[in-house]
């Protein structure tokens, strides 16, 4: 419940403030958002599985974001940033789909 409220709060704040994304953050922010989405869906799935753990969620959320940004940063240093971020988006997308499929099975029994 608090998580849902927090999400809404964040969206509202973003719409209200409309912050400028700093240049150094520009390549990493979309990847970080996708990674956080993955963690959130994973958490929702764990909740429905009955194995949700706040600590695990927080750690996985943060580590997901940091690792995704780190990998993209590394890729940028190596000159393959564009391809690596594509790869990360693909991997995280697949995971999101798998998580959403599990959630769907729980909620819709189908």
């Amino acid at each position: 419940m608090i998580a849902a409220i927090g999400l809404l709060l964040g969206v509202g704040l973003g719409l209200l403030v409309q912050p400028e994304v700093p240049t150094w953050l520009q390549p990493y922010l979309p990847i970080a958002v996708v990674a956080a989405l993955d963690a959130t869906f994973g958490g929702l799935r764990a909740l429905l599985d009955g194995i949700f753990d706040d600590r695990v969620f927080v750690v996985s959320f943060l580590s997901n974001v940091v690792i995704a940004a780190l990998v993209v940063f590394l890729g940028d240093q190596l000159g393959v940033g564009g391809q690596l971020s594509t790869g990360i988006v693909v991997v995280l997308g697949i995971r999101i789909f798998a998580n959403v499929a599990a959630i769907r099975r729980h909620l819709l029994k189908a």
Binding site: G10, A36, F52, F57, G82
Partner: protein, 253 residues
């Protein structure tokens, strides 16, 4: 997923997914829940920010440096290619233009040459200032030598085109004494003989009238010749050109 995990989860393990979701919606404000909520808020904030930055920025603005370099590269290559194409097209345009001009010039030269040659060869009619030399010969005393002399004299005086009665005088023209008087190119002449010549009228008239000249010669033979300068003499007798049987053009230069 399978099996109980800890004592807290054991009781809820038997519940369905919906029931678990419902139970999760009950706010329990412990520290970890608040942390998770904060993370979700961060996610929402970052997501909205990113979406809006995509809306605001152009694709170029958010592109990586290497991507920008690639785009720039592709653009300059495209520009180079287009410039090459432009240069090629312009040069071929110039070529075509000069080609057209050359052809035009060649055509004009050819036309001029054809006119000059046609007048020389007698295939074209001609008009211009000149004289009429009229020889009245009631007793038919004219001889080929006198006619030829008159033609030669006209030529010497600069006549460009000459016609005797209905016969055009050309390079191969000959004058003979026939049974019924002089013949030009095999065609008998009937008096009065009219020699039309195109050239400078005054010079031609003067040349005919010099003492002991053409007019005097005709008079000596008992004929009366008169020169009439004209502003415009029309030479309308034509020759059919005949291709040379033996002569071939030699390669020039």
């Amino acid at each position: 997923m399978t099996g109980p995990r800890g004592t807290g989860h054991a009781a809820r393990h038997e519940l369905t997914g919906r029931a678990r979701l419902r139970s999760a919606l009950v706010p329990r404000a412990n520290q970890r829940q608040i942390l998770a909520g904060a993370l979700c808020a961060l996610l929402g904030f970052a997501g909205v920010t990113q979406v809006q930055s995509r809306d605001e920025d152009s694709v170029l603005e958010s592109a990586r440096q290497s991507d920008l370099v690639q785009i720039l590269d592709a653009q300059s290559q495209l520009a180079d290619r287009l410039e090459d194409e432009l240069a090629g097209l312009e040069s071929s345009y110039d070529d075509l233009l000069t080609d057209g001009n050359k052809q035009q010039t060649a055509l004009e030269q050819a036309r001029e040459r054809r006119e000059a040659l046609g007048i020389l060869a007698g295939t074209l009619g001609a008009r211009g200032p000149g004289v009429d030399l009229v020889v009245v010969d009631p007793d038919r005393r004219a001889s080929a030598i006198r006619i030829l002399g008159a033609i030669e004299e006209l030529r010497n005086a600069g006549a460009e085109v000459i016609q005797v009665n209905d016969v055009r005088v050309v390079a191969s023209t000959y004058v003979l004494d026939g049974d019924d008087g002089p013949e030009v190119d095999g065609i008998g002449l009937d008096p009065p003989y009219v020699l039309r010549a195109i050239g400078d009228a005054e010079t031609l008239a003067t040349a005919m009238g010099i003492p002991g000249g053409v007019i005097d010669s005709f008079a000596n033979d008992g004929m009366s010749a008169t020169v009439v300068p004209r502003v415009e003499v029309v030479v309308d007798a034509l020759r059919t050109p005949s291709a040379p049987e033996y002569a071939r053009p030699a390669e020039a230069g």
